[in-house]
Symmetry: C2
Subunit: 207 residues, 2 copies
Amino acid sequence: MHLPDKTVERLSQYRRNLLIILAKGKEFIFSHEIAQLLHITPVQVRRDIMLIGYNGTLRKGYDIKELIDLIGKIIDTDEGQNVCIMGLGNLGKAIMKYFSGKRPKLKIVAAFDTNQEKTGQLYAGIPVIHIDELKEKVRSMNISIGIITVPFDKAGETAEYLVAAEIKGILNFSSKPLNLPETIYLEEYDMVTSLEKVAYHTKRNKQ
Amino acid sequence: MHLPDKTVERLSQYRRNLLIILAKGKEFIFSHEIAQLLHITPVQVRRDIMLIGYNGTLRKGYDIKELIDLIGKIIDTDEGQNVCIMGLGNLGKAIMKYFSGKRPKLKIVAAFDTNQEKTGQLYAGIPVIHIDELKEKVRSMNISIGIITVPFDKAGETAEYLVAAEIKGILNFSSKPLNLPETIYLEEYDMVTSLEKVAYHTKRNKQ
DNA sequence: ATTTTATTGTTATCTTTATAACAAGAAATC
DNA sequence: GATTTCTTGTTATAAAGATAACAATAAAAT
């Protein structure tokens, strides 16, 4: 089954919001309720749900529990995937704490750094390991995803290490465009661009 | 002049990469060189540049300095815009340090928090102020952009404070969908969704 | 029992974004 | 000086994404 990129993004958001609603005791939800929550149209919600092959009930809506489980089957693997942080700087640390316990199927199991003063200890309960051990640890700890939080000028070589270690997917927080083989999925996450986008639109609103 | 959203994003990326190339002493650049750098097509580069009304030279390409300056005129204001961080947690701190000195036209000038143990001091040279003073400070410090880094369950009220303070644009790092008046530009930046997107594609590559 | 109402599922249309195609023209080569 | 080459600028086409329209139908109301 092929899903549009934007649908995958929204499925992630649906699930997170549905989990909160489920915890409040609600069992069923209408497309227009989900839509209002995320500020999108009900059609889009219904279309996304159609694409993953789920069926709601007329006049009752969607079974929240079932929908959450189905989204989980699409996004997550049964065993979950292990993730590593590349670079124990401010951003790396913030992300480690941010994700701590948040997504049981996506566990940050290690942080890698070149600085020997940082390695060999735990941070937020997660081992900080020297980058020389990356390849070995990716294999032994079954890590499939890497998050790059190192600065611009170190991002290139960090990516090369990850490629050599045969990682499967990368989330890149540095604004450096990476050169990767096609087999590795790359998601870019550029804070500067996001802020500049806000700046652009804010400027226009002011004028 | 109206620019497509995606073009604005790329302009930000063009500029950052061009600044580095300019610093290396290069004066002119071809569309296919920019394209290769960012892993996009040369047509797209040319089209974006066409849309902002810049003209290159045949067989010589684009004047890097001129292009950088023009992108600056589009994204930035002459005086620059002031930015504040909402929430001095791990993410807020990381972002403050990350942006420190990086974008002279987008200056983080204050961080706001509710915790009285955090307020009244400086962090990374930036004053940490109690949120009760938000409205007054937004006016007196001429802040137009707010970055929300508080957790999910605090994001709603934080946004309300920003709305009351008449902020112009918001960059939201919490995954909480915000309810804002149309006049405020909102950019969402959801790490969990990004990581889950990687997880989804990585899973597919594995199978 | 019939009619009305509300909601899903899906196709059709529109909008946005990206790519392809190519004319125009300057520089380089012959 | 004529021809070839290379690169821009722009229009035409294609692909992705969002919205509109509406049939189907179960539940509620009459």
